[in-house]
């Protein structure tokens, strides 16, 4: 009996097991999807396709990581897609039109995204403007900047170093964007779970007043999180442009919604205070596999929209049910 309990507790404390347990709803959805798709088509479970899926989800994942922090904080950032477009377009433009050295253009492009995030964060924390509104305004500004600068045209880029950022491979197998994704996941998980800063993010989202009286520097944390979101979006823009060999001002639309969807699918609470990076990553995976699988099966992209929407709705419903179930169990346990 004792040893059994011990075994059980060892299993329960295993971080990998915990990760799946915590995200059980989304993991089940993911498995069901994978099973259905791999029955329908044998192209799904091939090494090449798995790598391709990972590369496809990487850009959404960068953005969703930042979005997770924003939502845990109790806010929302609608400007991420526009920052993707703006930073990407400007970076490519700086290289092609202004003849800037590539590294300088990249740094400038990312700085512009960082600055946009900083401005949102500053206004949200300083003036208590709802993030929904101010980031919507920033979305318009950033989209506008991208269009004004480019005149609405896409700019082709042939620089080898620049294309290597998005198209390169590590050891000739793993695409670089996937490597970035893994690094970012590790770093941000660490920050959120192991540092003072991460603890403060949860505290502010969970109870702002309590956090304030506990000595949490609310404004600083808010500004840093929005700035981080700006950085991650700009980085996503950079990788995206590199993969497309061009800067396109129209490319960012929809990324904010995909990022929010990934967070929500992963169990991040829209009212703040709750969320996990692992959940968001699973969420991004589900969204990526939906498109990939439906493409492989040969379903038209119009139908894909409908199916994607329905799957997201079902996954969220399942998650809510799971919450109710565990509540019930808790009640039973206390009753006993």
């Amino acid at each position: 009996m004792m040893s059994e309990n011990k075994k059980k507790s060892v299993v329960l404390n295993n971080p990998v097991v915990n990760m799946f347990r915590n995200n059980i709803g989304i993991v089940v959805v993911l498995l069901i999807m994978c099973i259905i798709i791999s029955i329908t088509t044998d192209k799904f479970l091939t090494a090449a396709n798995v790598v391709s899926v990972l590369r496809q989800i990487s850009i959404n994942t960068y953005i969703a990581l930042g979005m997770t922090l924003i939502i845990i904080l109790g806010h929302i950032d609608l400007s991420v897609g526009a920052i993707v477009a703006m930073s990407g377009t400007l970076t490519v433009g700086f290289i092609v039109n202004q003849g800037m050295p590539v590294p300088l253009a990249i740094i400038l492009g990312i700085l512009i995204g960082v600055l946009t995030g900083f401005v949102s964060g500053f206004i949200v924390s300083r003036f208590r403007v709802p993030a929904f509104i101010i980031t919507m305004a920033m979305m318009n500004v950033a989209n506008g900047v991208a269009y004004v600068y480019s005149g609405g045209q896409s700019t082709r880029i042939t620089n080898e170093f620049f294309s290597a950022i998005g198209m390169g491979y590590l050891f000739k197998v793993i695409p670089l964007p996937v490597i970035y994704m893994v690094i970012l996941i590790i770093v941000i998980s660490f920050v959120l779970n192991k540092t003072k800063f991460g603890t403060y993010v949860y505290a502010i989202g969970g109870n702002r007043e309590s956090a304030r009286l506990s000595g949490v520097p609310i404004k600083k944390v808010e500004i840093i999180v929005f700035t981080l979101s700006g950085f991650l979006s700009a980085f996503a823009g950079l990788v995206l442009c590199s993969r497309m060999y061009s800067g396109q001002p129209s490319v960012g639309g929809g990324y904010e919604l995909d990022a929010i969807a990934a967070c929500v699918l992963g169990g991040t609470s829209m009212s703040g205070g709750k969320g996990r990076i692992s959940g968001t990553v699973f969420g991004a995976l589900v969204i990526g596999i939906i498109s990939n699988g439906l493409n492989l099966i040969g379903i038209s992209s119009y139908w894909q929209l409908i199916i994607k929407g329905l799957i997201i709705a079902c996954a969220v419903l399942l998650d809510v049910q799971k919450g109710k179930l565990s509540n019930l169990k808790k009640k039973k346990a206390t009753a006993e």
Partner: protein, 499 residues
């Protein structure tokens, strides 16, 4: 006394196996004001909710005018003439008084539209019949809290309410407004309306009630004629043990103890002014006064949590000015806030998370938080405070009020303060936890921590404090030392009449 209008016999109610009411008897007579007294968590609200049809009792019967009734909903309560004035006001702020009074039973014209004129006329009559002065067509949001409460009372009476329950009606009223409320209660009494009056304020009970029933831990303790009892007897009934052993305090000689915190001329325009006091190491300085007198605001200012405050604060003789709570915490001040749910805890996060939130800087190894150090601190304070939680990882929100308060206390003790400010440290806490919290506070004072304790519970102020400041209307109106402390003396200052 008149005839019995309401009888509740053997009422039992349990939630997930735990009895909130374990067989309560309660009897209300016609035209009387019957005070219901008990600690927080004693079961007063549950009993009232059973009467109001919000909860269904597991066992027991309710008789109204001798007839057994089943109150299975709010509507059924209304039909039986039971009206409940809740602590939180539930009027619609953007509708007029008349619209609120007739909400859901609007008077119609013959075209089927709402007859505003008729409603205003009838509302005016209803209001006037209780001797209240409120215009029927003003928007509720423009009324004071007291006026809104009066509208609630008018509404309850208008449903043919002859049993009216008031749940802590004076908790957010000024003295003057309390007087107005008492006039209305007298008016209702004349109309033979029976009232159940819930309040913690002894002096009010003795002024307004005819009888008092005390309940404790979900059981009936006893009923007394108000004129034949005294506050001490009632408190002893509520607490269920001898008061002397309930409070633990080892007084020490403060003459030699250095001053830890000194405040001079602390002012925030319109909130409090010219507040000055000092606390020695090992002293417990009480802050008494009515709710809304500005005590919490003063404490928050010292803690750096309020803006636009003038005046000087000295910590260990050195002048300090905290721009935010973080600076105050680092300097060694801790504030256990008044409202643990809104200000003290992040309810959705774990006990361990909450307990270490203010002192994370002690557990860092590099840039990461050391879980080992964190665990050690959590277990240290959990055992010191006798925290009852299944594990440090359970959500703080799932704990009982007393245990939640212990988590908040632990959180602030973990910051290793020299000055500990406690704002209502035992509000909403069960008797046992209260006793344990007093023991800890005494222990801390013995260790030389300077303690400032804001409390509205006079027995706790009287039995725990060395000195007491009384605050009224944002001003320090009295300073009493231990030998001068009596309920009457404190209330004299707190309620006014002396300058």
């Amino acid at each position: 006394m008149g005839q019995t209008v309401l009888e509740m016999i053997g009422i039992k109610k349990s939630f997930s196996g735990i009895y909130a009411l374990s067989g309560i008897d309660f009897r209300l007579e016609q035209g009387e004001v019957h005070a219901l007294l008990g600690e927080n968590g004693a079961g007063k609200s549950t009993l009232i909710k059973v009467l109001g049809g919000i909860y269904q009792p597991d066992e027991g019967t309710i008789k109204i005018r001798g007839k057994e009734v089943k109150i299975n909903g709010v509507l059924a309560a209304q039909e039986n003439g039971v009206g409940i004035i809740h602590q939180e006001i539930v009027l619609v702020p953007y509708l007029s008084v008349a619209q609120n009074l007739f909400l859901g039973r609007e008077i119609k014209t013959k075209y089927g539209t709402v007859d505003k004129e008729e409603m205003n006329k009838r509302a005016t009559e209803m209001i006037a019949s209780l001797g209240v002065k409120i215009e029927a067509d003003t928007l509720v949001e423009n009324l004071t809290i007291a006026q809104q409460q009066m509208v609630e009372i008018v509404k309850a009476v208008s449903f043919n309410g002859n049993i009216i329950v008031m749940d802590e009606p004076t908790s957010s009223l000024s003295n003057e407004e309390v007087e107005q409320l008492f006039v209305i209660i007298e008016e209702l009494k004349k109309k033979q309306v029976s009232m159940i009056y819930i309040s913690h304020r002894m002096e009010e009970l003795f002024r307004i009630s005819d009888r008092v029933t005390v309940i404790r831990d979900g059981s009936y303790v006893g009923t007394r004629q108000t004129s034949e009892t005294n506050p001490n007897e009632l408190v002893a009934m509520m607490v269920g043990r001898d008061l002397k052993s309930f409070y633990t305090r080892d007084y020490c000689d403060l003459e030699k103890a250095p001053v830890a915190l000194k405040v001079e001329g602390l002012t925030q325009k319109g909130v409090f002014e010219n507040v000055g006091f000092e606390v020695h190491k090992g002293e417990i300085l009480g802050f008494a006064g009515l709710v809304g007198a500005g005590r919490s605001e003063i404490m928050e200012s010292i803690f750096g949590a309020r803006k636009d405050v003038t005046g000087d604060v000295y910590l260990h003789g050195k002048k300090v000015r905290f721009k935010n709570p973080m600076e105050a915490i680092k300097a060694g001040i801790a504030l256990v806030p008044e409202d643990r749910k809104k200000q003290g805890l992040v309810l959705g996060n774990s006990v361990s998370f909450n307990m270490t939130l203010s002192s994370l800087r002690f557990y860092m190894s590099g840039i990461a938080i050391s879980e080992k150090k964190r665990k050690k601190v959590v277990s240290e304070y959990s055992s010191m405070l006798r925290l009852k939680a299944a594990s440090p990882e359970v959500e703080a929100g799932s704990l009982s009020g007393g245990n939640q308060q212990k988590v908040v206390l632990g959180k602030w003790l973990a910051t290793k303060p020299d000055v500990l400010i406690l704002d209502e440290p035992t509000r909403g806490v069960d008797v046992n936890a209260k006793f344990e919290i007093y023991t800890v506070i005494n222990e801390l004072a013995k260790q030389g921590i300077a303690i400032v304790m804001v409390s509205s519970e006079l027995p706790e102020i009287i039995n725990m404090c060395d000195n007491v400041c009384v605050v009224r209307g944002g001003k320090l109106v009295g300073k009493l030392s231990r030998d001068e402390l009596t309920q009457e003396e404190i209330m004299k200052y707190a309620a006014g009449g002396i300058d």
